[in-house]
Symmetry: C2
Subunit: 423 residues, 2 copies
Amino acid sequence: MKRNRFGFFGAAAGGAIFDIVRREGPISRAQLGRTTALSKSTISLHVDRLLKVGVIKEEARQTDSGPGRRSLLRFATDRGIVVGIELGVTSIDVAVCDLEASVLASYSETLDIAQGPVPVLTRAYEIIEQLLTDVGHDPDADRPMPTLAGIGIGLPGPVNRTLGCVVSPPIMPGWDRYPVRDEVATHFDVPCFVDNDVNVMALGEARAGSARDSESSLFVKIGTGIGAGLVIDGELYRGFKGSAGDIGHIGIDGERTLCSCGNRGCLEVVAGGAGIARRGRELADSGASPMLAEAAARLADESPPREISAVEVGLAASQGDTAALELVIESGRHVGSVLAKLVNFFNPQMVILGGGTVNIGDAFVAAIREMVIRRSTQLATVDLVIRRSAFGEQSGMVGAALMVVDEVFSTRAVTAMVREFDG
Amino acid sequence: MKRNRFGFFGAAAGGAIFDIVRREGPISRAQLGRTTALSKSTISLHVDRLLKVGVIKEEARQTDSGPGRRSLLRFATDRGIVVGIELGVTSIDVAVCDLEASVLASYSETLDIAQGPVPVLTRAYEIIEQLLTDVGHDPDADRPMPTLAGIGIGLPGPVNRTLGCVVSPPIMPGWDRYPVRDEVATHFDVPCFVDNDVNVMALGEARAGSARDSESSLFVKIGTGIGAGLVIDGELYRGFKGSAGDIGHIGIDGERTLCSCGNRGCLEVVAGGAGIARRGRELADSGASPMLAEAAARLADESPPREISAVEVGLAASQGDTAALELVIESGRHVGSVLAKLVNFFNPQMVILGGGTVNIGDAFVAAIREMVIRRSTQLATVDLVIRRSAFGEQSGMVGAALMVVDEVFSTRAVTAMVREFDG
């Protein structure tokens, strides 16, 4: 997260003015003048160029009083479209969005990522092409409109953004170092950007979802595994090696279950969806939970036979099965105990809980919240909002789309567009 | 940590150019042109103004080849002086620094903060005045040179920076809401800035000390209590309510000792200096540690009688007392176990360990390091540097001085200076 302190001079002023229009618009020329302390004529010069390049638009507004019609400038969000993809372990969500990440069309289906990259990407291409057709994009046209500006993908594993692929993913057979970004970019002949799923979800929540008005937020995804994304002032904080937010392998003192990472008692092996399912099966086998024993027998008879998942544990808990309820509460408390430590340390304005396992029951979320409030300092919790994601599976697709817009319309990129246009 | 994305236009360009000169200088006009993409004449205009205002200097350099003498621009660090103060629980450190926080003169003495603000500040005034005289500052001169630009103070308690005071400090009787900042500013008729001691130390370490070349760092102070400061790209991250880094009250699972905050098993009550001392006294009383029992008897006979502190525990551990050594290692592991979680979450480039208790023995630091490496993910630790502060008590004074320079010579402030000069 290097800050470009010095990029806003001279030739780069066009890019910087675009940035203001994108983030603060609709905005008048007069407001731009006040924000930037630039002269009227300099503002005009840059605005005219940006209008010609087509990245901003001017629209009339009717004022109630004063000298009648005035115009406002805004990001030309209909100038192009972007595709945002959230690839889960067992699902794919694809959205075509305009440039402010409003969803124009979307599609979701179950898809097993363990099939490997070629079949999964082949299916993704079909979905993307269908959605593009739906919104009127014709790639065979001379000058296809609306322009596809880029594709963003959230992947359920550790992503090396420089290489554009996942590296040593624990649950994605065949994907290790497969060049996802370059494959997709080549296939559609547009820029492609990849990041891990939790980061794109955190970005989506922070910029378009539950944390839209928060200066700092912590997004926690509790699914099969557990991960988090940190957003400060609308930007992801990724850490020195890009591993910030890897909370799934934070150790819980006193827990000894072996985790796939080689350590014991990691948060996700104890309290993630897979951990809850495993312990639910133990309750079924031992007979401690009559409801889960019954569910296990029923699922074993299905074709193909299934095993108890966190969903069944949550269901049993909500129907009064004491052992299942205790498991749900204990798991929530483990998550809450770790989050309490992180809230003390990071002091975010908002904590958003997402991922499928959050939905196993109110008791789970209540236990998380209770532990955070009980075990964080008063100052850190007095105005803290802990909220279940209201944005749901949208957050990943929209976050992936926002990642594309941030890159393709960065200050630097727009400056280059203006230069190229002039040259 | 709101970023001023838009402050670098037009009239504000002077402030922004100053910022580049301060952070990247010495720098030539040509390099400034390349960095900012501004024309030669625009650079000249702004540089000339900054030279006239006196915040930058031009100095000749002899080049080996080329057209002979060229000049470089640099921050006029001798244009003024700043005072940085680190107020500890039992000590005061005061430094007079130039504007790049090089120490011109400093003085330290023991001082009990529990005396209350009036006697402590009265003593601080005497020390400051003596040091200012030492460096040739004469406040009675018509135009005192060198100019005292401001005073910064690190305080050992929770600081409300808006009010300029400590709020509900656990160990500073009489200081609650006492207007430290305004008192000091009025007394010397210069700007004063306050922050908590761990934040100013973290800033000093990140900008002038051990973490000078790290993009993100975590400074951990282990003294009587335990606290941390987070620095990202040279700036403190303070969190939503300013409580980021409050790690002393992170709970250690399974520990039940009552902490002053009302919770049980907080990190600092278990493994801080006071905690180690308390448990050392238990080892002395029970006879489990012969050396500590002996030390306790010896200290009780002193006049005035003293009790075992963390220092005696460390000494006994280093001299082969098994019980004391176990206590030191166990305390280090508790600290390391918490830091491992935070390293997973924050993924810093460097962790710096400071504060008096870090010096109780190599075994303590080794235990911290061992737990961080063992219990963090490989990616987060592969290039992580964990280092004892090499900057020592300087970090607080220098950090407090840097805080002043950052405020008094901010982009915004220098822009205002240029405007005022022109007007």
